[in-house]
């Protein structure tokens, strides 16, 4: 029941990446689901059971942490410092492979 966070080569899976991004603002489960659905225009939809696995695994790895539960005993999570580092690393990796793609696809003459 745990989500695979990393695929080969250290890349984050899309659901992990989006879950981490969602938690830059403190959110509870349903808000995370809504955020991910809205910001990907419905392309990525996480079921509640799947999201539970993701949140549980990330909390165990201390990439996210429980912020003091609100009065309505809803569990609100937020990203930790370690989580931010993981996202920043991922952004760097994405930037590098994006640049490589642009160079090869649109900048053929420079590439020769």
């Amino acid at each position: 029941m745990t989500l695979k966070e990393y695929i080969k080569g250290g890349a984050l899976t899309e659901s992990t990446y989006l879950t981490l991004l969602a938690l830059y603002t403190p959110r509870h489960g349903y808000e995370m689901m809504k955020f991910i659905k809205e910001c990907t225009h419905g392309r990525v939809v996480l079921g509640a059971g799947t999201l539970y696995g993701a949140v549980h695994a990330l909390e165990k790895k201390q990439l996210i942490a429980l912020v003091s539960s609100e009065a309505a005993d809803k569990k609100v999570y937020q990203i930790t410092e370690a989580g931010r580092q993981v996202v920043e690393q991922e952004l760097l990796r994405l930037k590098q492979i994006h640049a490589l793609g642009v160079q090869i696809v649109y900048g053929g003459e420079q590439h020769e």
């Binding site: 689901m33 509640a48 059971g49 539970y52």
Partner: protein, 170 residues
Amino acid sequence: MSDQKVSIRFFVDLEREEAWLNRQSDRGYMLVKKRFLCYEFQKSDTKYRYHIDPCGYRKDWKSYVSFLEECQMTLVSQSMGCCYFKSRSEDNVQELYTDCQSQRSYYWRRVWLLLLLLLLSLSVIARGRGPYLCNISISMTVNTIIAVLCCLNLFKCARKIGQLSKELYE
């Protein structure tokens, strides 16, 4: 029409059971309790979608259920190792599991439950006898049917697990 009704059903296939509960909801009856083979319904104007999760034996059951309730999935009842959740159909909360990995573990849990049921029915068949009707043993017949249904469902789940594993590792 009365406000309550009780149905007695036996499902081996969870998907069929979900579909049946959804149909009941479309007809205006929501599930309030399930006990063994009894389903208690109550009249309701709200339409619900049902999700059955064979999660009864997990260690973190409590935190799992409370997380799902926060995600607009209400626990209706618990019976024979399965949790019955409902979500309002207009909330458009889709499936419980949406990625390969969690779907695979869902099917594995179904396999374990089916194996348990198969073992039970086989043990009844092995002991044989039972009450007779027109010279046919009722317990033998019923349990043979259950065993066959279990096997069919096991195949179905195994195929799904195979497909999902392929997607995961290829």
